[in-house]
Symmetry: D2
Subunit: 405 residues, 4 copies
């Protein structure tokens, strides 16, 4: 635990959560579970959720009114790290993306009837949801360009569009769709977020997109979606009309912390695997990997980089808690590329230390190597964040980089 | 074509091969083919082999007596690069590892009856083979430690052992097994290479090891093997008894060139994909990815690094042609880590430029990202090569690093 | 100011110090002052010290009894950063190495008469001192190997030895010499720290060693020293006999914080120079450097890296304040290599952005490029720290790397 | 010698030159010579020139008519590498920049009277020259922006302007000045190259600019220059009027090879120093630096990188010999940033291995660390070359990056 950011309840909670993860979830990291589609392990995980509830660890991220602990972002971030040590824990604790983001969003912006009907089961873990924003035809680095439209017709919206990377759509109960409702407005005020129940006529899950060779399924999948004359009531609007981007932005602040702390948990676990292997794998009689300076270098660099990244992220979390995400936009950009790259380097070093074993699904590392490469891309590619951060810094020195456009 | 290393016949051959690869094999890079097990595409590839034969491009790597062109290593390396641009081409041209290595080995060292019975169909492409050396219990960085034994019993050897990463064992007709025959000899003279027909009692393919989430099958798989009281005639010995390592070493020189030129082909194709995407993917109206300096930086660095690596490898190939692999051991170490790391950087940059698409199996890049991470491990991990190279250099300055042991 | 580590008095102090540095010291960064030997600017700096005293900012690092503020290490570290923004400020505030280290050492371990005679004027800034440990004949990475001896003779020690990198010996009033007093003791208990007044017969300042082309002089110099039958009273011993290394180790904890926060100040100022130039230097009409993504990349990476390093160092400072340096040995190793490398990267990027101007002594950057390259070497080379850190981590996993010796 | 590029005469010449450099020039690398201004060592070097002449090694770079060997660029590049192993050798062989560039330029473009009067003594080594192009007011990355003008007045030009980084102006006999003669022409056709004898009224050497703390003098200096109503005959024009940039461009091709091969020579010598120190510096009894994997890693990476860079540069040299520089513009960009960065990495590693000694002027490395940092800036900064290379590559894919302007 990073003592700078420890709180009274974390001192009690974190060890309990860590113990749960180690005892109940580490044993699930079998070759089979790391290789087969998610639906194979899903029933087991749903059983584990009962243990979470029994242990009183369910819904930690929720407001007090909903049985949660009203944790600060900085507190929940630290829990998120511990959960990320297992690839299954966030799901088991019902804090998995994109549901946690949809939960937060709906708490703040969904009208009561939607909350009652969709948010409640989401919090209870009886349904899953998804978020449908990215479109294959437009670069994700510029999210204000969008082809999907929602046109009013009587009491309804009629939605048409093509999306992809609608993560976890497979098996979800509903979709929050981003669509242009106000094409005449300024770029950033054109889109709205609309809840679409899965199964509404015109909604097609085209395919689960194969990522790194796996299409996956259920929660662990990324769908391509078609919306063809999909009719939903205007009452399904979340937040004000035209506020789609604003809400998406707002979601990003805490979401960034969740992601980054997840990266740190992954890095920390990879580090641990690397060290364990380094002390046990014999190269020749009496010499193990850890005796070698090359391996020592991997370990030392990783230790320093993980610690530095964690401090950076938790500082940002605290700042968001204190000042709101908008006030620390630069920090929010910074932690994303810094932490994602750090994590991928640590995973890569851990693989290298494991040699051939590191390639296999007999251990966890290749799972992260493939599934987490996307960390440098989704939610803002490195290059987008670096450019945004620098432009904002230079604005403080009097330069408006965007003046030219 | 690198004019420094161009030869008359390459000037004719290379464009023909490149055209074949582009016309016949690029179209096979569908999402489905990049996602499903090898056996799915295999029949199509076997059909393509007929076209190779029709085009007179079969067996390029073979001696003239066997219908080949007696190409130099430096010439074949350049062909290998072009073939590597497609993940299917080496198989279609019957120059895939480990068969090409076994072919070379058996040409030189197999007794006539083995050549007749096993090498001939291998050259004809009617059977496949595999090579069984690495053992899970011992670090690959020290190949002289080995648990598998072959004990004489009458006219036979009785083989017992446990191996893994026996690539392409699934569906192979025979295995070349490395086993200790002379346990009393010096470390480097203990093992021999023995041909074991698949199906011999006691040979078990335990599993195709899942690599990065895929067990794969057929040629594209890596088996764990058990040998329990496997009885084969001593006539199945390849090369002299106790010469197993020597032969393995010998295999490494040309094998290294094959691998490295393959890496360069992969890097070159990835570079091409990156450039194509950079000029076509729009970020906003009138601006494409290639307009951005970050992307330009990826392109410039990659161009320089690929060219430099190719020159380094082809120089080494020529030196092996002229002086033999033993004379340029340092170069052979050097090209491995230099080229493998370069290739992985280029693939990674190409993915980054493609954004979310780069993660998917809709394009080729993630295939290489997962399948080729092993390049920094197999056949000598980076760290092993760097240390070996440095020790050898320092020997030239009077230091025997190994003196301490 | 890093709010996580801000304290009430820092909120008042830091802006006052920063203003002093900007107003009084930045104007001294002329080409001439950055080019000529230290003695050229020294009289001006001694005048500035009076202003420091007038402003009530003198002796901040001292105990309250000596007119200081009894700052915590974490507080002083933050002051150290601000001072480091000017290459002259630490000297002007009398907090320059090695005097600050000697001050701390003598406060704790010097007998009263030495304090009265040597420490008092040191605190008043009327004399300077130096620390003589490193020897050219032995690798600095193993400080327990030492050729200098101090042999008892009556009431005196007689010292013989050869040292170098005795920084600031030129013009110092006294030297603290590390010498072997107990050759029969265990390696780490052989040496003692003995105060030798400059001018004692047998003490020779052989030369100020030219570093990066400059021998320098006065405080800004690094001497080679000879000690030939140098006789000093045994009463000049600092701390117990044989405790030399222990004391040197103890000095390292806080000293590491001083150094690292200095690195961060240098990085921060370089960052500022880079940004200022980026917004003002025109490439063509209407386009400045900051419009270019390459430059934006430098800025974004630097911002993230500086912030991360600062958090890491201040965390360690706080831990030392709370638990003592011995308890956080790993952190103390970690911050050194992490921060030194970060600083050198930022300086290098700032130079690159300045182009030809960055090479010149018309701006500050080349001063740091040359003078601070040593940061990765002195006080433990990167490699030494990485190996020590990794070994200590692996000990936690049950491996004693040193077992073999 | 890189056998791929060896020629008959190089096989004889190179060892002779290397021996000369080692025997006559390595002993000059004393602390004093590496620290003091160039004029201190200059008389000794001028004596050494006599030995060069006696040995028949003078003027190797010249056309046969002028006593040279009419070496190809690829041949001379290899000589340049060997000379670069000593910081004094190029001067001693009269192949130092900027004189070698001016020599080549004047051979091709100077009218006969200028050749007779200025080129002849240049070739004889009795005078030195300089080239005055860069202006402090305009970014070097865009050389077509220029404030210096040459206005016709009767038979003369009257030149006014402000330049800097006019290397080696101190003590030069004449200057080749780049000035705008045709302000109405297209950007690239505005300037001309005009020979101005040093001492012409109105020519002021404002100062030798301090670089990394040293102003230097004589050949080893970089001047700031003022031209105020400087009157020279129009007959001093070199090449056609308005062809200034064209000629400067032409100079760059071969100049790039000279520079890059110089970088390689520096890297190679640094590598050698690193290895020698690694085998001799004891860390503890029986263990030297070279026993450590960290050091082995530095050595292995450096060996591979130097070899790769050399092949890249010599390939480009050969292509220029065969096809002219214009045909291989991409390669000419590529080698610059690739080789300069490689060289600085190798120098940096060699310093790190030397520890404290590496900082000093007791050995050569810090000389290069400071003097050669500029390699990533002059003659096109890394960023300029990378962007130019990428734009040119992308043009091949159909994108005109410059279309927007």
């Amino acid at each position: 635990m990073e003592t700078l950011f420890a709180t009274e309840r974390l001192r009690t909670l974190l060890p309990r959560i860590q113990e749960f993860v180690e005892t109940e979830l580490y044993p699930l990291e079998t070759t089979e579970n790391l290789t087969r589609d998610f639906s194979y392990i899903e029933p087991v995980l749903l059983e584990k959720r009962k243990l979470v509830k029994q242990a009183g660890l369910w819904g930690l991220h929720l407001p007090e009114a909903d049985g949660g602990l009203a944790l600060t972002l900085c507190e929940f971030g630290q829990i998120s790290e511990v959960l990320a040590r297992s690839p299954f824990a966030h799901f088991v604790f019902n804090t998995q993306a994109p549901d946690i983001g949809n939960t937060e969003l709906m708490h703040q912006y969904a009208p009561e009837p939607l909350k009652e009907r969709y948010l409640r089961p989401l919090m209870e873990g009886t349904v899953r949801s998804c978020f449908s924003m990215t479109e294959p035809e437009f670069a994700g680095s510029n999210p204000t360009r969008m082809g999907t439209t929602a046109v009013k017709d009587g009491e309804d919206y009629i939605i048409n569009g093509h999306k992809w990377f609608t993560s976890s759509a497979d098996g979800a109960a509903f979709i929050i769709v981003m669509a242009v409702t106000n094409p005449e407005a300024a770029r950033h005020k054109q889109a709205s977020q609309i809840l679409v129940p899965m199964g509404t006529p015109g909604v097609t899950l085209v395919r689960n997109i194969p990522i790194m060779g796996h299409a996956g399924d259920s929660w662990a999948s990324h769908a391509e979606m078609r919306y063809e004359n999909v009719r939903v009531p205007q009452a399904n609007l979340i937040g004000p009309e035209g506020a789609g981007f604003l809400l998406a932005q707002e979601r990003l602040g805490p979401g960034r912390i969740h992601h980054c702390m997840r990266f740190i948990g992954i890095a920390e676990r990879s580090f641990e695997l690397m060290c364990r292997y380094a002390v046990s794998r014999e190269l020749e009689e009496g010499t193990v990997l850890g005796d070698k300076q090359f391996v020592q270098g991997f370990i030392a660099d990783s230790r320093a980089e993980i610690d530095a990244a964690r401090l950076l992220v938790l500082r940002t979390a605290r700042h968001i808690d204190e000042q709101g995400a908008a006030a620390v936009r630069d920090e929010v950009s910074m932690i994303k590329f810094f932490t994602a790259n750090m994590m991928l380097r640590v995973v890569d070093r851990a693989i290298q230390v494991h040699g051939a074993l590191g390639m296999t699904s007999d251990i966890l590392l290749s799972y992260w190597y493939t599934h987490e490469r996307a960390a440098r891309i989704y939610d803002g590619a490195d290059e987008v964040h670096k450019s945004a951060l620098a432009r904002n810094i230079l604005k403080g020195y009097g330069l408006d980089v965007k003046r030219k456009k």
